[in-house]
């Protein structure tokens, strides 16, 4: 990269906030996914004005720029695919305002998701989007990826909890999108920008909605001897008009991995468990819990356990939340896929995933946000053997292909990023994608902001994307 550009950045931000030596850049070539791409420079702005300055310098030297929060993303969204300057928001991490009466807060993008909920816990409020990464991932990153989590089923995804945004466009203008009021006249631009995977603007301030904590939470564990019984239960519960706050499923293989490590009390000889949660006012929650338990029994649940207190509830959730880590103990590397299917197609999809596993000779565990039909198959492989990695990717692609066949999608919550751009044509026609490209180009005309993401770009040199081997580990949900 032009040394003048680095000098300009140092002048703007101070030497401490600019990294450019090779050994420093090596630590920004990865995120939480299996993708790898190295930036030419990394900067740490402290306030909006500095972000504007960075964008101006990037424009002056025609350098790509890429926003990044905590780097927990799972599709390479915050990686510098074509080099450039990585704008890391870890030092813009202040909660600027908390308005308890109006249930909202104004935060800088680097505020960690869970930190906001901790900061307002005493008021009985919380920030509802709960990606599994919430202890570390930033709200800015959640906004870029439109993150969801186990409680998305009832509470919605990030976009449902964002009132307005302050953002710096790739051309350098500072704009405010939406209004702090509940309804905003004009186009729903926050709706467009949330989930745009960092391709439309660098977000510098977010006004989020805070949600009251439910009065009562009931957590149930239903144990099944066949996977089909478990999946049919999910379909039946939602068909009856009950919306659980969460509805997670683990298959037998995953349960055995989890139990060996967490001891959450999951029976190791069963085929599947459902972790169900209902919340709300005490009477309603208790009644719904009863109904949910009845449906489970109707579908031959071997046993339905209801957590008696917070400790038992935490233990059940610990089993779910540590599932990926538990798998990590079986194999140093694994590849987590993220696909969506209509939840009515769960039984046949799971059978197909098993067949694909056998065909490629991999063990594949399954963890679902079953209520949303969001699948996370975990493919175990050894990264030290290059052929294994390629076969793992091939088997994952086959799973995603089947999801689309079932009327689903290529990603539920991890995003497209640089992982799945090549799969977009499976879902959209060239015209569909051109419309989206035109939206991007309206804000990001030269393509300096986060280039090479979401769309299989035919512009430029027509690069062939070859994945380098991951150093160690792989991605998770």
């Amino acid at each position: 990269m032009d040394s003048h550009a680095i000098n300009d950045l140092k002048k703007l931000l101070g030497a401490d906030a600019v990294l450019h030596r090779p050994e420093e850049l090596l630590l920004y070539e990865y995120d939480g996914s299996v993708e790898v791409a190295r930036p030419n420079c990394v900067v740490f702005p402290r306030h909006t004005k500095e972000v504007v300055g960075i964008v101006q310098i990037a424009n002056r030297y025609q350098i790509p720029m890429i926003g990044r929060g905590a780097g927990t993303g799972l599709s390479g969204g915050a990686l510098a695919r074509q080099g450039g300057v990585l704008v890391v928001f870890s030092r813009m991490n202040r909660i600027l305002e908390i308005d308890v009466e109006n249930q909202c807060a104004v935060v800088q993008p680097g505020v960690v998701n869970a930190d906001l909920s901790v900061a307002v816990a005493q008021t009985g409020l919380h920030f509802a989007p709960d990606p599994s990464s919430q202890k570390a991932s930033t709200i800015g990153g959640n906004v870029s990826e439109n993150s969801g989590g186990p409680h998305t089923l009832a509470y919605g995804v990030t976009t449902n909890h964002v009132h307005s945004l302050e953002a710096v466009l790739p051309t350098g203008e500072l704009v405010r999108l939406g209004s702090p009021a509940l309804d905003s006249p004009g186009y729903d631009l926050p709706g467009l920008f949330v989930g745009s995977e960092g391709t439309l603007a660098l977000v510098t301030e977010i006004t989020v909605k805070l949600t009251r904590l439910p009065e009562t939470v009931k957590t149930l564990l239903a144990i099944f001897d066949t996977v089909d019984d478990a999946t049919e239960t999910v379909v039946d519960i939602t068909a009856r008009g009950i919306t659980p706050a969460a509805c997670e499923m683990l298959d037998g293989w995953t349960i055995r991995a989890v139990e060996a490590y967490v001891h959450a009390g999951f029976p190791v000889d069963c085929a599947a468990v459902l972790l169900l949660e209902v919340d709300g006012l005490r009477e309603a929650a208790e009644q719904h819990a009863e109904e949910v338990a009845d449906v489970c029994r109707l579908h031959h649940a071997r046993e339905v356990r209801v957590a008696r207190d917070a400790r038992e509830r935490d233990l059940l959730w610990k089993g779910r939340k540590n599932a990926f880590g538990a798998v990590g103990r079986l194999s140093p590397t694994y590849y987590v896929q993220d696909g969506v299917i209509p939840r009515t197609k769960l039984p046949q999809t799971l059978r197909r995933i098993n067949e694909i596993g056998e065909k490629y000779g991999f063990e594949i565990g399954n963890i679902f946000h079953a209520g949303d039909g969001n699948l996370h198959p975990i493919i175990l492989f050894d990264a030290r053997e290059e052929k294994q990695f390629q076969r793992a990717v091939a088997s994952a692609d086959e799973i995603i292909g089947f999801c689309i066949e079932m009327g689903g999608s290529i990603t539920g919550e991890h995003g497209v990023g640089m992982e799945k751009d090549r799969l977009m044509p499976l879902l959209f026609t060239e015209d569909d994608m051109n419309l989206m490209r035109r939206v991007r180009d309206a804000y990001n005309p030269v393509g300096l902001l986060n280039p090479g993401k979401i769309f299989p770009d035919t512009k430029g040199c027509g690069e062939i994307h070859v994945r380098p081997l991951p150093v160690a580990g792989a991605s998770r949900a």
């Binding site: 990294l19 030596r21 050994e23 420093e24 090596l26 630590l27 920004y28 990865y30 995120d31 939480g32 740490f44 905590a70 780097g71 927990t72 890391v88 870890s90 030092r91 991490n93 680097g110 960690v112 869970a114 930190d115 901790v118 990464s133 202890k135 570390a136 991932s137 490590y261 939340k321 540590n322 990926f324 880590g325 538990a326 990590g328 103990r329 140093p332 590397t333 694994y334 990264a383 150093v471 160690a472 580990g473 792989a474 991605s475 998770r476």
Partner: protein, 446 residues
């Protein structure tokens, strides 16, 4: 047998070019251990240094990545690597949140062992480290001698003289002086070899691990620990030949010293003779419980290590399990508890000290925010990296003050020193006590 460090940068580079890995064969982070990290990044917000600086290189994930890069021959063990590995507090908070079960403390210490073997530190740093880890801490008599010298300095007003004349400021030591412990009048060394009988019916027979520097700066805490054990029906044996646990040496990567100290302790304590080996220092406890990590090769030592470690209990863990029987008088006061990292993250003990605090009548325990985040003490970290240690301390005192507690309780001598310095620097007027000192104060003494 530690390898000789390379004599020059050129030597290091030559070796680097010859072997694909930048690590030597002995005492190195193993692929099977570090590759458990799937770089999900869930640890970053729990890492004190990442919270301070927001940089990947100073996060657990980034440090593990740097180790992997060295092992792959893509990064050398040079100034950058050493800086970021040195800056780690080794608080192991990342282990508590890691979904993949990465044993970070273990691989960090091995990375430091590699630095010991492969990197030549600046002259003063080498001399200082050699003095502390190899010539001072392993030898009780030298600790006593050094303590007597320091006591002379403290008692005869030389400290205030040094302060007033600005000598400390000239030497850049003005902040560090507040971190220096006050040297005791009556060293604990005099109790070695003694046995203290149980009061009432004997419920257990335990050995007491007295520590090294603690014997000249925390003698009263050690005596309080023995009194509380006696009052709760334990016969306490303070074995004579015991030495430093080796934690500081192991944390610094000086593993040959740590191994020798461990072996000396295997002989000093006949583990079979006791129901438990008790320590009141969380930092010592976690090393004593993990002695097996020092001996992967030698089976005889490994067996001794496992036998020894199986008996080690932190005082709060032991008492909470045993149950308190000594009557306690009410102490009407509001307190807060700072989790000692090597108790909560190293030994996974969170509830036991809180249970003991609540056992004292009229004591009100108010939790502070982020109580399990390091205070910046971290062994000798506050001396080696004073700026970061004081920044962390400043946040810690802010949270402690918000609880309006009269006393901050904790579970490790190092934390006590740091928090006392914090209370003095930030003028919070809060008393800092070990959980056991609170119990001792509440004992109804005949």
């Amino acid at each position: 047998m530690p390898a000789t460090p390379p004599q020059s940068h050129e030597d290091a580079q030559r070796e680097f070019a010859l072997t694909l890995s930048g690590f030597s064969a002995t005492d190195k982070p193993e692929y099977e251990d570090y590759s458990r990290c799937v770089h999900c990044g869930l640890c970053s917000n729990n890492c004190p240094t990442y919270r301070l600086w927001g940089r990947e290189a100073d996060s657990p994930r980034g440090r593990i990545r740097q180790m992997a890069l060295v092992d792959q021959g893509r990064l050398e063990i040079g100034d950058t690597f050493v800086t970021h590995i040195d800056r780690c507090l080794n608080c192991r908070n990342c282990e508590s949140v890691c979904p993949s079960g990465v044993e970070y403390g273990k691989i960090l210490e091995l990375a430091r062992a590699q630095i010991e073997q492969k990197y030549k530190r600046p002259f003063t740093s080498r001399v200082l480290r050699d003095f502390i880890y190899r010539r001072l801490l392993p030898y009780p008599k030298r600790i006593a001698a050094a303590a007597r010298t320091l006591r002379f300095y403290q008692r005869w007003g030389l400290a205030s003289l040094a302060r007033n004349t600005g000598i400390l400021r000239l030497l850049g030591l003005q902040d560090r002086e507040s971190l220096l412990p006050k040297i005791d009048s009556n060293f604990f060394f005099s109790e070695l070899g003694k046995t203290f009988p149980a009061q009432g019916r004997q419920r257990a027979r335990v050995a007491f691990f007295a520590g090294c520097v603690a014997q000249v700066t925390f003698s009263e805490l050690n005596r309080a620990t023995i009194r509380v054990l006696q009052a709760n029906g334990c016969e306490v044996v303070v074995t004579a030949e015991q030495v430093c646990c080796g934690a500081l040496a192991a944390h610094a990567g000086v593993r040959d010293v740590a191994r020798n100290l461990a072996r000396a302790n295997f002989s000093a304590f006949h583990a079979d003779d006791f129901d438990a080996i008790i320590t009141n220092a969380a930092g010592c406890g976690s090393t004593l419980k993990e002695y097996s990590q020092l001996f992967t090769e030698n089976e005889a030592d490994l067996e001794s290590a496992c036998k020894f470690s199986a008996k080690v209990r932190d005082i709060s863990e032991f008492l909470a399990d045993l149950g308190l029987v000594a009557p306690l008088r009410p102490l009407p006061m509001r307190v807060t508890y700072q989790d000692s990292c090597h108790l909560v993250h190293g030994q996974k003990i969170r509830e036991a000290p809180r249970k003991l605090i609540r056992a004292v009548p009229s004591v009100e325990l108010v939790e502070m925010a982020l109580s399990d985040l390091c205070c910046g003490s971290a062994g000798v970290y506050n001396v080696m990296e004073p700026k970061a240690a004081l920044d962390l301390l400043s946040d810690k005192m802010h949270h402690a003050q918000q609880t309006k507690a009269q006393a901050i309780l904790t579970a490790n001598p190092g934390c006590i020193l740091q928090l006392r310095a914090g209370a003095a620097i930030h003028k919070t007027g809060q008393e800092v006590l070990h959980v056991i000192e609170l119990l001792d104060r509440a004992l109804i003494k005949s």
